[in-house]
Symmetry: C2
Subunit: 199 residues, 2 copies
Amino acid sequence: MSDLITIPARRGKAYRVAKGETIKVINTHGDQVIDTWAFNADDLHEFMSMEHSRAHILKIVPAVGDTMRTNKRRPILTFVEDTSGGVHDTIIAACDKHRYSFLGHEGYHDNCEDNLHAAMHDIGLEAPETPSPLNLFMNIPVQPDRSLSFEAPVSTPGCYVRLKAEMDLIIAFSACPQDILPINGVGHMPTEAHFTIES
Amino acid sequence: MSDLITIPARRGKAYRVAKGETIKVINTHGDQVIDTWAFNADDLHEFMSMEHSRAHILKIVPAVGDTMRTNKRRPILTFVEDTSGGVHDTIIAACDKHRYSFLGHEGYHDNCEDNLHAAMHDIGLEAPETPSPLNLFMNIPVQPDRSLSFEAPVSTPGCYVRLKAEMDLIIAFSACPQDILPINGVGHMPTEAHFTIES
């Protein structure tokens, strides 16, 4: 098992993972949303796709046993354990500079889109686009009338998700810097989180 | 109003639309799913995004009065009328060659992804990627347990959706060639559909 790797508060982190290894994503302080991407290590234009995964798992939120797929419909990550309560999101875009302008913020605001690209750059890579992310621990309930809302996480300190790599891949995380909506907990500021790689 | 323009069965069609014009998409035979994309005419890298739109309309299915947004969160298409029953989909990827292999089809099968790119090519353009489509008339119910299924449309012959262009854009349609799952009606084969442009 690797050392504990930090996803700094409001920042991103990318890491190379070999096929068969498992990534344990820890919600250290309990109510931090972690935007998550995975790219084929041999072809960054192939990446985990929410819209393709949903067509195969036949759910809008993956659970233990479900395998996420790429935009070429190949398996890329499998949920093997989840102690968080199972509330995650696949339907909302990564926050970006436009999002914070729309919410009334003036000037630059940290955001998950820029965090993804900075994290990839930090390991010498360039993400070809910003795929729709797997938003771990993010609570977007969908009502029977098909409306949705942004709610605080149900996850608790130290809870985690374990994801098995189904191919050699680059995993990228962003500790979501959203501090206007209560998506990282009511009254809570964005915090750091951690992950380990288990072989 | 333009003449009636055909989206041939199992094929795509792209068309230039000016800001302020309205696109009337007609489900001529009643149960044909129409995958729909919209690209900023001045920058094809900006396009209608399901994951960004959902964050703003706060629904998984848009209704009359809702405005779809681009991956830069700018308004691009507004639903101004809908006589179809209001059942559409924003959460499932366009079908592609991989989808039909997965479903057991041998050899080439027409698919919405290739139809998008062929339709853009026909008007001298190249789509930079395959965005997650707005699947008009597609019936993907989401249950309270967050599961989903592929069902036949509820739309009827001649029903239509009217979409107002909020910028100069390229609209692209694919008359979905899915003939393995009942997404285009139980026992029904893919059919043509039509659209008009109203100034």
